[in-house]
């Protein structure tokens, strides 16, 4: 018995929703960053699944996934650097308090 495509998609959707929840609800900036990583990985699952089930002769899906991984790594680097910088300035990384734009 083969596992249908929809299962992968459901797992990815769940993962994405967890990520969104994390981004929107977490106060800790590191948590928000982790939520973003989850969303990116959900996208990766989708990309690989669609490639495998719909167009296996072409490597575009895998290549895309690899690109996303690189971007995610870079994003994590920049994001963490920002968070460290904010922490050094304010000794706090609570997203609720980082509202300099409004002030």
């Amino acid at each position: 018995m083969t596992i249908p495509l929809s299962w992968y998609l459901i797992v990815a959707a769940v993962l994405f929703c967890i990520g969104i929840y994390g981004v929107l609800a977490r106060r800790n900036a590191v948590g928000i960053l982790m939520g973003v990583e989850l969303m990116l990985n959900a996208v990766n699952i989708n990309l690989v699944a669609f490639w495998r089930y719909l167009n296996p002769t072409d490597v575009a899906g895998q290549a895309f996934a690899l690109f996303v991984l690189v971007v995610a790594a870079a994003e994590a680097v920049v994001g963490l650097a920002l968070i460290i910088s904010v922490y050094r300035n304010r000794t706090d990384i609570d997203a609720e308090n980082i509202n300099l734009l409004k002030q």
Binding site: I20, V23, L24, A25, I32, A95, E96, I98, N99, L100, L101, K102, Q103
Partner: protein, 798 residues
């Protein structure tokens, strides 16, 4: 003499003095000796060249009489076309060419022109032409100019040091003329302009010289521009300069009209092209308002002469021009200005050739009337004047009247002859009067030094604190109390200034027409002889004889008052002879004032005719034979045979006038302060004459005052109320309009823009509330929006 060389000489004659003017004005004005050397050198070379040209013309003129068509003509494209051109125009070949033109070829000895102003099909040429008329003038003008410029060295006190009290614009008192170099520059320009006019081969170049002379007369009459007189009615040099310039300008406008008319009817202004039989008959055939175009043109040109040669009614500037330095008066009266006026009408006379059938006498009535009237009119004024130079000024006007009248009667040769002799003796008389004035002024300074040093104090010293406060305040301290030009302040100068006396006497007798020995007699006699010969000129003849009588009378009056008797003032008693640079020109001109007349002796006069004409001539005068070919192409002149009657009448009139003058003024010399005997006898008439028939006052009342009132009215009413009113109205309207625009701008444009900005601001303010500054809020909003958009998409498109 090589033809090409002659052409260069003729070009150089006017150019040298003009170059001297520019050199002095631009470079050497500060160096007195250098300046006058340049000026005198230039005119001296011009004089020598002119003599060469003249004697060449005389030599050629001899062959001319034998073969009328032996005119030598040559034209160059440019004066710089030198060697190869002269090689291909040998005189012999040119002679043949001229002979081929037939017997009406114009008698030009030298002709050369360059294209100057191309305009469409025609080209205005600038060039030189030497025909017998020009040659005769080239004998007279350079020598007179040369003498005058040379004389100016002494007149401007070159022998003295500059005096720090002498200021530019005032006559020098004790030292050298402050603007010495400038004076010579102007005189050079004057001479150059006159020579340009004389050698010009077309009317336009003649007019250019004419106008430059107008400018020079303005500059030189007003040379002492700062001078003022205590008597406010006396005209100042500045006023006289403006008057001379304005008066001649009025006439010049008419002359320019005449030139334009001539050009439009013939298409050329070149003398040799106009003075042909075809051209003159064509000019006479065309009618303008029922009058032949030739006469209209000639009348317009003649009006130019009325202004330039100071004929009635435009004569008033000439006596006032005496305000200038005396060499200038001589220049204006003898060598240049007024001679130019007569020369121009003499030059243009052939255009009348077509108005009568060939062989008949060509006359021009307006000239007879104006000339004769002016001659008599100014002679009557002359014998009441007290100023030594004013007498000469009016005598000039009178003699010019003789010439104009003669020309009007068709006595072309006589008019030209009188022009030339008059130039010699009038230049002599003027320079003599300058010498007299110089001597009397010197006497004045001598007497002032004797007892009153203060009177000669200069202006700036006068302005300093002065304990001697006296009645000098209203008078210009530069101006002495005594008038050194008033003949009633002179007397007895014969012994003090012997050379001046003898030369002045020769000039005076020449002017008076004393028989046989003096040039003025022969030329005047020729005019009178012509008038006598034609019955229609009887009145003119008698008027001119009476004028000649008056001329002799006032000349004797002048000589008696100036030179005879005892000195009437201390200054005249201290007068002494002038510097040799002033005396030498007098002597030279005196020679010419005698000998210049002998070329006008008729061949058929018993005795003298043989002496001056040689055994072969049967009729006419040497002068007549020389200049007559000028008219050959257009007018035939009747050569009058010798007639004793007018000669005797004229001699009698001259001698009688001199005798009467002696009887009134010379027999019992006037004492100091004694009034003019004529004033006592003539009463009211004398006052009228003395005031010059009140012409100046009439002109002042009729022209000057209305012009001034009109100008004031124009200024006050027309300009200030009319034109300014319109302008102010326009400005006012513009102001109102701009105010209206301004309120529109503030309310509508600015209001709209401000309202727009304010509404944006309000919207921004309102939208501010949803900007929390929290990234998570924004993300939530984005999520909700995306979900909503997807929902919308699904509901709409699936």
């Amino acid at each position: 003499m090589d033809q090409q060389t002659l052409i260069y000489f003729v070009w150089l004659i006017p150019l040298l003095p003009l170059l001297a003017f520019f050199t002095i004005m631009l470079f050497t004005r500060k160096h007195d000796r250098l300046s006058h050397t340049i000026a005198i050198g230039a005119i001296a070379i011009s004089f020598v060249l002119a003599q060469i040209v003249f004697w060449n013309a005389v030599a050629q003129g001899g062959s001319h009489a034998a073969e009328p068509a032996a005119a030598v003509e040559s034209s160059t494209e440019a004066p710089s076309a030198t060697a190869e051109h002269s090689a291909e125009t040998p005189a012999a070949a040119e002679g043949e060419h001229a002979a081929a033109e037939g017997e009406h070829g114009y008698p030009a000895y030298v002709e050369s022109h360059i294209p100057w102003l191309p305009q469409g099909l025609n080209t205005l040429n600038m060039g030189v032409l030497v025909d017998p008329l020009t040659a005769a003038m080239l004998f007279m003008v350079p020598i007179a100019c040369f003498m005058i410029i040379f004389y100016s060295v002494g007149y401007s006190n070159f022998n003295k040091k500059r005096d720090p009290h002498d200021q530019p614009g005032f006559p020098p008192h004790k030292g050298r003329e402050p603007m010495y170099g400038r004076f010579f520059a102007f005189l050079s320009l004057f001479a150059g302009a006159m020579l340009t006019l004389v050698v010009a081969d077309n009317l336009l170049l003649l007019f250019i010289g004419w106008e430059i002379m107008g400018l020079c007369s303005y500059l030189l009459i007003g040379f002492w521009y700062a001078r003022t007189y205590p008597d406010r009615n006396k005209i100042t040099p500045r006023g006289a300069a403006v008057k001379a310039f304005m008066t001649t300008r009025v006439a010049d406008v008419f002359m320019l009209l005449g030139i334009a008319f001539l050009y439009s009817s013939t298409g050329t202004l070149s003398f040799t092209e106009i003075f042909t039989q075809e051209m003159t008959s064509q000019l006479a055939a065309v009618l303008f308002l029922g009058i032949p175009a030739a006469q209209v043109i000639y009348m317009l040109l003649f009006i130019g002469t009325i202004g330039k040669s100071a004929q009635f009614p435009l004569h008033t500037w000439l006596p006032d021009a005496m305000e200038g330095p005396t060499p200038v008066s001589a220049m204006i009266h003898a060598a240049a200005m007024v001679s130019a006026g007569v020369y121009m009408v003499i030059r243009m006379f052939p255009i009348l050739g077509g108005t009568v059938p060939r062989g008949e006498l060509v006359t021009f009535t307006p000239m007879i009337i104006i000339g004769t009237f002016t001659a008599l009119f100014s002679a009557t004024i002359a014998f009441t004047q007290r100023d030594v130079k004013k007498v000469l000024a009016y005598s000039t006007i009178s003699q010019l009247g003789f010439m104009i009248s003669a020309l009007g009667m068709g006595a072309w040769v006589a008019a030209l002859f009188h022009l030339i002799t008059h130039a010699f003796f009038k230049a002599l008389l003027f320079m003599g009067s300058g010498s007299i004035i110089h001597g009397v002024e010197h006497g004045m300074h001598a007497t002032e030094h004797g007892h009153d040093d203060h009177a000669a104090a200069p202006a700036h010293a006068e302005a300093a604190p002065d304990d001697h406060g006296h009645g000098h305040d209203d008078a210009d301290p530069q101006e002495p109390d005594m008038d050194p030009q008033d003949m009633f302040n002179m007397g007895g100068l014969r012994k003090k200034m012997p050379v001046t006396f003898w030369t002045f006497l020769i000039g005076g007798l020449s002017l008076a027409g004393f028989p046989i020995f003096f040039a003025g007699f022969w030329s005047k006699d020729e005019i009178l002889g012509h008038a006598f010969h034609y019955p229609q000129f009887q009145i003119v003849f008698w008027v001119l004889v009476f004028t000649a009588f008056l001329t002799a009378f006032y000349t004797m009056r002048q000589i008696s008052l100036t030179f005879f008797g005892q000195p009437r003032t201390e200054a005249a008693g201290h007068a002494h002879e002038s510097h040799w640079t002033m005396i030498a020109p007098l002597v030279i001109l005196a020679v010419f004032a005698i000998i210049a007349g002998f070329v006008g002796v008729k061949a058929d006069m018993p005795g003298l005719g043989l002496i001056f004409n040689g055994p072969f001539a049967k009729y006419g005068t040497p002068f007549e034979h020389f200049v007559e070919p000028v008219l050959a192409t257009t007018i035939e002149i009747e050569v009058l045979s010798f007639d004793w009657t007018p000669l005797l009448i004229a001699s009698t009139a001259g001698v009688l006038g001199l005798a009467l003058g002696w009887w009134v003024y010379g027999r019992r010399p006037l004492a100091a302060g004694q009034p003019d005997p004529l004033e006592v006898k003539m009463g009211g008439l004398y006052v009228v004459l003395k005031n010059k028939y009140y012409i100046d006052e009439i002109y002042n009342y009729v022209f000057v005052q209305p012009a001034r009132r009109f100008a004031v009215w124009m200024g006050d009413v027309f300009d200030r109320k009319g034109i300014d009113g319109v302008l102010h109205g326009i400005a006012d309207g513009a102001l109102r309009l701009s105010l209206a625009f301004r309120s529109f701008d503030t309310k509508v444009v600015n209001g709209g823009a401000d309202g727009f900005a304010a509404s944006i601001k309000a919207a921004g303010h309102w939208l501010r509330d949803i900007q929390t500054g929290r990234v998570q809020n924004y993300l939530l909003l984005a999520l909700v929006s995306v979900v909503l958009l997807i929902a919308l998409y699904i509901t709409l498109f699936s």
